[in-house]
Every structure is written in C-alpha cells, then in structure tokens.
C-alpha cells in the first residue's frame, strides 16, 4: 500500500510549489491512476515516492514503511518503470535484466521469461542500441517487474506502443493486480486510466482536485452529454453539448428548435471531459 499525507515540494525551496499539500492512499492490490496535464506535478510526486527527490514536507509510507526512515532494502519490494528508456545500450536485453536482477536481495524473475512476456524474446540477445523506441519501452517495463515488486510505479507504460502490444501490457498489469500488487500509474492517457484504474486522482498545478473511481465519476458526470451530427454542405460535423453547462444547453435547445441536426445521441462523458470539467484544463 501507499500512503501520502500533506506532501508538498518546491524545487526552489520557496513558496513556488510544484506539489501542494497532496494526500492520498492506495490500498493493497489497487491500480491507482495519477492523471494530469504536462507540468501538473505527476513526476515530481512519483520521484518523491521512489526517493529520487528528497522529501521536503509531508509524510510518505510505502508498504508500511516511512520513507523518511527506511533503508534502501525497501527497494527490494518496489518496481519502477520509467517513461524515458534508461537502458544500458551496450548490453543486450537479457544482460540488462540479468544485471538489474543481481542488484536485489530477493528472488527475481527469469529474464528470458519476462522478455518473452513483453514480446522481446527474439531480441533478447541483441544489444539494446539496436532496439526501436517501443522495444526499449517494453524492456524498461519488463525490467521494472524483475524483483516481483509489491509496489509498482508505472510512468506512461503504453505510450507510443501499437494497440496490440499495448493490449499485452495492459493484460500484464491486470494480472499483477490480481496477484495483489499495488500499482501507481501515471499517465496522460484517459482511456488507459479508464480501462485499468480502480480509482483515479486528478492533479493540476500541483494539487489534487478529486479522487474517485472512473465508474463513479461517470455516474456523476456521465449521461449528461448529447452528441449531434450536422450536415454542412458536403461534410458532416460532430458536436457535443454538456447538459450541465448553461451556454451549451441554450445552444442545444436552439439547434433542436430549428431542427438543424441529422442525428442525436446522448453520451457518457469520457474521463477526459470530466477532467476538463473539474479542473478547467485540457490534458494535453
């Protein structure tokens, strides 16, 4: 489990906070999505949790240990998948994993089996300098599982992957969750968050605006959109109107009265739209 209380961080050590007084808890076996636009403070938060940044203010517990007091042995139970593929390019895929495995004092996974799992079996003995971007990303992902972590940090695990590979990665994440792994998933991608996460936190400008399950969010904000298509000469235009927004509602009413539409459907809000509603900001 992960427990964060009143965490703040300022790179400049003044009142200019990159992360402002955030608190959340992730129980064992949950996938917790950390969603926010660029510069929101996602990486800052994650880096404090994995001790890449010093803890300035607040309390953090990882797997019941206060990270301000714990030793490096804690990392035997933690896995981190970085967004940037930080791999030893001169080593092969297998050598990278073998090396990484030898750093831990706990039983580790078989490197070859992990590589097979993420579709790198063929390239296992090839130096990583020859890997494509997506292959490197899968290698980083595989590496983060090598010590069978109980707490798993994933930073954009599927960005830049083709849908087929992304599906495999998602399946692995869900399998890990079923085995009781606690997962902290950072992403811009609302669809991934929707599919995978038990709960999501919306973070914007260093503050958490809301924490809830995607299902609750959609119950609360969903079914409140209307999608219509209009024909404009030759082309078809799609427009969406929120039934919570006064201006939207007025506009929609007018369109209906004038019968200026071809089709009309009510629609569930996507997480992305909910995010914009809550924070007033787009995700990308």
């Amino acid at each position: 489990m992960i427990k964060v209380k009143n965490l703040s961080h300022s790179y400049t050590k003044d009142d200019n906070f990159a992360v402002k007084n955030i608190s959340f808890e992730v129980p064992k076996g949950e996938i917790f999505g950390f969603l926010g636009p660029s510069g929101a403070g996602k990486s800052t938060t994650q880096n404090i949790l994995i001790k890449l940044l010093p803890l300035q203010k607040g309390k953090v517990f990882i797997d019941n240990e206060n990270i301000a007091k714990t030793s490096k042995e804690l990392f035997n139970r933690v896995g981190v998948s970085f967004e940037h593929p930080n791999i030893y390019k001169k080593l092969t895929g297998v050598e990278n994993l073998e090396f990484h495995a030898s750093m831990y004092n706990v039983p580790t996974e078989d490197p070859l089996a992990l590589l097979e799992m993420v579709g790198l079996g063929q390239a296992a003995n090839q130096r990583a300098e020859g890997y494509s971007k997506g292959m490197l990303q899968r290698l980083v992902f595989a590496r983060s599982m090598i010590n069978k972590p109980r707490i798993w940090f994933l930073d954009e695990p599927t960005s830049g992957l083709d849908p087929g590979t992304a599906a495999i990665i998602k399946e692995i994440i869900q399998e890990k969750k079923r085995n009781g792994t606690t997962i902290f998933l950072t992403t811009h991608n609302m669809q991934i968050a929707d599919e995978l996460c038990d709960r999501v936190a919306f973070i914007n400008e260093g503050e958490i605006n809301l924490i809830d399950s995607p299902r609750n969010l959609k119950l609360q904000y969903g079914e409140k959109f209307v999608k219509i298509t209009q024909r404009d000469d030759a082309s078809v235009i799609e427009r969406r109107f929120s039934l919570l927004d006064k201006a939207d509602k007025a506009q929609l009413k007018e369109i209906i009265e004038r019968n200026e539409f071809e089709t009309m459907h009510s629609q569930e809000a996507t997480l992305e739209e909910i995010f914009i509603k809550v924070t007033g900001r787009r995700l990308t």
């Binding site: 994995i50 001790k51 890449l52 940044l53 010093p54 490096k72 042995e73 804690l74 990392f75 035997n76 933690v78 981190v80 970085f82 940037h84 930080n86 791999i87 030893y88 390019k89 001169k90 080593l91 050598e95 090396f99 990484h100 030898s102 750093m103 831990y104 004092n105 130096r127 980083v140 590496r143 010590n147």
Partner: protein, 345 residues
C-alpha cells in the same frame, strides 16, 4: 559483495564494448613505440655550465683559452658561488678548475640527476674549451644531491616514468568521469538508484575497473621497454594508489557536474595541472616549488626511483604517502559528492 561483483562485471562489459580496452592498449603501445623508436637514445638537455678557476690556472693554460674561460658569461669568482648558482638552477652543472702537478685539474660538480651521457658531454666540452691539453690525473665528480643519481639508463628508456605517471593520473580521471556522466546523460543512474544497490557500490565498481586498466597499461609500457628491470612491486603500488585517487577525483568532478559537457572544462584544467611536472622532467630539474607540490611530481620521482634506483626508496615512500593521503581526501570527496549529487534530478 555479489552485487559489487555484478557491478564490476557490467562495467567491464560496457567499457570493453565502448572499446576502452582497445583504446588503452593502443595508447600504451603507441607510447612504447615513441619511447623505443622516436625518443633519441642520447638527448641533449641544454644544461648551463657554471665555471670558476683559481688564478694559478693562468700559468698552465694558453692565454687565449684562459681568457675565454674568465670572460664566459657563466664565469663566477669562487667555488662557493658556483654551488650557490647551481642550487638556484637545477638545470646546471659546475666546473671548478685548479692546478695539480702543474696541470689543470677539473672538478665537475653535478646535481645528481644527470645521466652518463650528459656528464660525458659536459667533460668533453670542457676539455675542448681548455684546448684539449692533458688534464691532471682524472677529473673529479662531486654530487650536490646524494643518492639520486640514475644508473646508466639510455635517455629513451629514462622517460618511461612519464607515460606511466600520465596514464595512471589522467586516464582514470577522464575515462571514469566519462563513464559516470554518460550514465547521468542516459539516466541509467536513476534505474540503479531505485534498486537496493548503494551509490558507493556503484562508484567503487568504477574505481576497481579503472584500477585494472591502469595496471594493464603500466605493465604493457614497462614490460615492453624496461622488461623486468626495476622494482615492479613499488611501481604497481604507486600506479594503483594514483589510479584510485585520480578515479575518485574524476568521479567527484562528474558528481558535481550535470552533464558530460559541463564536466569537460574542469577535467581539462585538472589534467593540465597534473601533467605540468612533465616540464621538469625534460628540462632536468626545472622544479619551482609550485611544481614540486603537485602529486604527479612526487609520483614521477617515486616511479623513477622504483624503476631505476635500486639502492634507495626515499622518493618511493614520499610518493606513496602523498598518494595515500589523496586516496583518503578524494575518496571522501567522492563519497560526499556522490551522496549529494546522484539523488537530485
């Protein structure tokens, strides 16, 4: 322990695949070739010759020759003045002329660092100066700094301590700083920091790897030039301790610099300072106190003693003490800067 072995193994794989071994061996072989085939076996070390003579000498010499001597710009009144001048200028020798048995008698005063060729050359030129008249008995050689004279070593082999010094003090400094800053640039260091592996283990592994390369390179250079002459144990001890402190210094610089580019400038400056004592090797005994304070200066003398002077070990121990001290200083500096630097960003 097993983690340290894994780390060292990885360093070797990566450095070998970055052609470090190839580069280091090539440099060593090039240096061997330069020593054996390019440096002349007899080198002219443009030495100043201070002269003095008693007035009786006039009676046993041709007047033109005597005049030439007394009018020489390096002619001094007394033997004491000659010695004083020599103490001020390490790159000099002295000649005191007296009369013995009605013949000119020559006393050659040397610093003690000169090799046979230089001494023979000096005597020959004095004899020429005196008009090649027969001297009284033999000449007499007086040494200013006892216990430092180099056995009969051809000039080309006498430079062997230089490449050893440069390689052990500078190769480590540079290559290790490159190794670490590359890890930072590629952010692989972050992947390490989130394992139970300690920062000092990573740094030690790099130091151990460089130590191996330093031994290899020194052995190749000495082996292919001097063979088994000299005290290899002392030589390797100096190379080892030097490699360790220079690696620590390199890691310290790398720790404090954000990237390879920003580390380059301090590295170059430090290397130039460390290489400065080379000057005093070639202009024999040009050794102002600021040069003598450098660790590479004492290392150079220590290596020379280890390789060429069997009878004494004073300079070896001086060099060893100095480099042992630096191992502690830069080792501590590396640890402190490592704790501070590898965590951030």
């Amino acid at each position: 322990m097993s983690r340290l072995i894994s780390l060292v193994k990885r360093e070797f794989k990566i450095t070998a695949r970055n052609h470090y071994l190839f580069i280091i061996l090539s440099i060593a072989l090039i240096l061997v070739a330069v020593i054996r085939f390019v440096v002349p076996a007899e080198m002219d070390f443009d030495t100043t010759l201070f002269l003095t003579s008693t007035s009786e000498v006039e009676t046993v010499l041709d007047s033109t020759n005597y005049q030439a001597i007394t009018e020489d710009s390096n002619y001094l009144q007394t033997r004491e003045e000659v010695i004083a001048a020599m103490l001020d200028n390490n790159n000099s020798m002295g000649v005191a002329l007296t009369v013995l048995n009605d013949k000119p008698h020559l006393e050659l005063i040397i610093q003690g660092f000169e090799n046979e060729q230089v001494i023979n050359l000096a005597i020959a030129s004095i004899q020429y100066y005196l008009g090649n008249i027969p001297l009284s008995n033999n000449y007499y050689i007086n040494t200013l700094h006892e216990g430092t004279s180099i056995a009969e070593i051809p000039a080309n082999l006498s430079v062997v301590p230089l490449p050893i010094m440069l390689e052990s003090a500078m190769m480590g400094l540079f290559l290790i700083a490159v190794m670490l800053t590359l890890e930072k640039d590629h952010r692989t260091i972050k992947a390490y920091v989130i394992t139970p592996g300690r920062v000092y283990e990573l740094l030690f592994a790099k130091v151990i790897t460089m130590l191996f390369y330093a031994f290899l390179s020194a052995s190749v250079i000495v082996g292919l030039t001097l063979g088994f002459r000299g005290n290899w144990l002392q030589m390797l001890i100096l190379v080892g301790t030097t490699s360790i402190w220079s690696s620590c210094l390199g890691l310290m610089i790398a720790n404090l610099c954000k990237s390879l580019t920003s580390a380059m400038m301090p590295l170059i400056i430090v290397s130039l300072v460390l290489a400065a004592p080379v000057m005093s090797y070639f202009a024999p005994m040009f050794a102002p106190s600021y040069l003598r304070m450098l660790p590479t200066y004492s290392l150079m003398l220590g290596l020379r003693e280890a390789l060429f002077i069997e009878s004494s070990s004073t300079l070896f121990y001086q060099a060893l003490n100095y480099s042992a001290l630096l191992v502690l200083v830069f080792g501590a500096g590396m640890m402190l800067s490592g704790r501070y630097a590898l965590k951030g960003s």
